[in-house]
């Protein structure tokens, strides 16, 4: 797909929406207003935005622990997302899933996943269904560098290649598997090297550059759509917050200096500079986008807070179980 001015503005908006959602979620967690675990996507916005801008509503994605950004990028509704994080009945999963299982099947978002690598075979299955139906749709697997060490990932990547399925593997290499640096968990520098072993083409892209991600994803998606099988995109990126929660500085597993260095390449700042230089969107225009999104986030928080909790009588719904839960 061509990088038009509209695409640039669209990429910016997707990233700003993710950033504001995640900053708000982090703030709410710090204030103990969200139950459960929270894995924030701040810093990695260019990957979800760049990839999802290359997709249609019919295309599917599978996501990770760090899944809010993927759902926002695919068009997720702030109200239902925030309500899910707050475990409310109006949430995407009616309060049954929370942050780690947030999904919107109508948007083709097949769910965040609490098991590292667990979503990879599922997205390949969706890709199989697309080929089976001949509907031209493509499924995208988001996964981290850490997930590429999991057996399910290797099995599914090989399966997708062997069965020639319309799947795109997008590795968000943020250099850490939870709290352990990548160079301690694999003997290669570039995760994309693994693509060769499956017989699929792979590229490395600057994961802080939404335009570069968009271009690489567009190419991979076009290949899949044309029936030419799966491909692999490795996006070099970085998470600005901790693996879990919002503590940032003074961590032993990565240095404050390293974080500061990556912060100079904030994907939103980079795109805003480009937009301004190209005369597509000036500082005031960008600020207006931020203000509009911030207002929508505040409205979503209010919506979620005013929403009801799930009714305890519905504990046994939406699953095969035995009468009364057998209890």
């Amino acid at each position: 797909m061509e990088v038009t001015d509209e695409v640039l503005v669209d990429l910016h908006r997707r990233m700003v929406r993710i950033r504001h959602f995640e900053e708000a979620a982090g703030r709410l967690a710090e204030e103990s207003r969200l139950p459960g675990f929270l894995h924030l996507y701040v810093g990695e916005e260019a990957v979800a935005a760049g990839v999802c801008a290359a997709l249609t509503d019919e295309d599917q994605i599978s996501s990770t622990h760090r899944g809010h950004g993927h759902l926002v990028a695919k068009g997720g509704d702030f109200n239902r997302m925030m309500a899910e994080l707050m475990a409310k009945e109006t949430g995407y999963c009616k309060g049954r899933g929370g942050s780690m299982h947030i999904c919107d099947l109508d948007l083709g978002m097949l769910g965040a996943n609490g098991i590292v690598g667990g979503g990879v075979p599922i997205a390949v299955g969706a890709g199989f269904a697309n080929k089976y139906k001949g509907n031209g749709a493509v499924s995208v697997v988001f996964f981290g560098d850490g997930a590429s060490n999991i057996g399910a990932f290797h099995e599914a990547a090989n399966m997708a290649a062997a069965l020639h399925l319309p799947v795109v593997f997008v590795c968000e290499n943020n250099e850490y598997g939870e709290y352990t640096p990548r160079d301690q968990t694999m003997a290669i520098t570039d995760v994309v090297d693994r693509a060769v072993g499956y017989g699929m083409p792979g590229v490395i892209v600057d994961g802080m550059d939404a335009v570069a991600v968009f271009e690489a994803a567009s190419e991979a998606v076009a290949r899949a759509r044309a029936g030419d099988g799966p491909s692999f995109v490795e996006a070099k990126t970085y998470r600005f917050y901790n693996h879990h929660g919002v503590q940032v500085l003074g961590m032993k597993y990565r240095s404050d200096e390293e974080l500061a260095e990556w912060r100079t390449r904030d994907p939103i700042d980079l795109l805003e500079a480009r937009l301004a230089a190209a005369g597509v969107l000036d500082a005031d225009g960008a600020a207006a986008v931020h203000a509009e999104v911030a207002a929508a986030i505040e409205a979503a928080i209010a919506f979620a807070e005013q929403s009801p909790d799930p009714d305890p009588s519905e504990l046994f719904n939406d699953v095969y179980t035995i009468a009364g839960g057998g209890a």
Partner: protein, 337 residues
């Protein structure tokens, strides 16, 4: 049933399973089969023979030996609107795929607030008796039954093999269909038309008043043989074939136990933590005052399945051991000789 037994055709258990799949695939284009060797080879036990010839390689898919990816393929395709059948060649191999089965398939619908439908059937072959040793012989149904969200069926007859497979294919929940390897060649009456045996309904295969013998899978035949022996001793056993272990038709079991006042559970899986423990617990909850003896259990010992035919014969419950277990529950002496 309109057809009498003499009019009903006879078919082997494995062929009855195959026929269910074939007839349903003709009816519903969204059904496909994927797994190791299920396509061109027709499955290592022949259960999928002829499907690729009739339906082509897209609906009868040979996959890599990748159990997690096989189950995941089914999950993703089910969420995307198909009705997949994925085969894990041996029941032992479900352990390789347990994340996809227990953490993904069983839970997605619930975690997604009911949005996902998962009409996924996982087929596999369990049970000992082929000298296949400890990694190709297990009966692991208790593990599956412990996971909310999964249904588990374990037919003991060709009739049920076909009818329960049809029920699994029509169910919108993930189901695990466990064929018993030793039953694949067993013949019995199987109607040609498509029919369904409802999931979760036990079958009283032999009425009796002295003791209730509850079993499933291959142990039903052994229990019936034991019941024949005991009939010679003047003891009439009521034998129940559970057919489905999750959901468990405890009502049928309890109703019988209240009449016979004694119950013995028989399974091929190891005794500790097996279905017998769950059934014993539920029966004492529902029928404590009716019981004249503790609930008996006849099951495999708590060891891996041995390779040696001599050891395996010692390991797997058989009619003789079941008869002994029943006599103990009845307080009867072993017959002389």
């Amino acid at each position: 049933m309109a057809a009498t037994e003499t009019e009903t055709r006879t078919l082997a258990y494995g062929a009855a399973f195959n026929e269910a799949l074939r007839q349903m695939m003709r009816e519903d284009e969204s059904i496909f089969v994927a797994g190791e060797d299920v396509g061109a080879a027709g499955g290592v036990f022949g259960a999928f023979v002829g499907l690729q010839d009739e339906f082509g390689p897209m609906r009868s898919v040979d996959t890599p030996i990748s159990e997690q990816a096989i189950v995941g393929l089914g999950i993703g395709a089910a969420v995307a609107g198909l009705r997949p059948v994925v085969d894990l060649m041996f029941m032992d191999f479900i352990l390789v795929a347990m994340d996809q089965i227990a953490n993904q398939a069983a839970k997605l619908k619930y975690m997604f607030g009911g949005k996902a439908t998962l009409p996924l059937t996982i087929t596999t072959s369990g049970g000992a008796g082929l000298s296949a040793a400890a990694q190709h012989s297990q009966s692991l149904e208790a593990m599956l039954c412990h996971v909310p969200g999964l249904k588990v069926v374990m037919p003991g007859t060709p009739y049920d093999a076909k009818g329960l497979m049809v029920a699994c294919l029509r169910d919108d929940n993930p189901t695990v269909f466990v064929k018993n390897k030793r039953l694949l060649g067993k013949k019995g009456p199987v109607p040609e038309e498509l029919y369904e045996v409802p999931i979760g309904v036990a079958n009283v295969v032999r009425p009796g008043d002295a003791v209730t013998v509850v079993s499933y899978g291959r142990m039903v035949d052994e229990s019936l043989k034991a019941a024949d022996r005991l009939a010679g001793e003047g003891v009439e056993c009521e034998v129940i074939d559970l057919r489905t272990v999750q959901p468990l038709d405890i009502d049928t079991v309890v109703a019988s136990a209240r009449r016979t006042n004694r119950i013995v559970v028989v399974h091929e899986a190891v005794r500790f933590g097996g279905l017998g423990a769950e059934i014993a617990a539920q029966v004492q909850e529902e029928a404590f005052d009716y019981l004249d003896a503790p609930v008996g259990r006849v099951a495999a010992p708590f060891t891996p399945v041995p390779f040696s035919p001599v050891l395996e014969a010692e390991y797997v419950p058989n009619a003789g051991r079941i008869a002994t277990g029943i006599r103990q529950t009845l307080g009867l002496a072993e017959p002389p000789g």
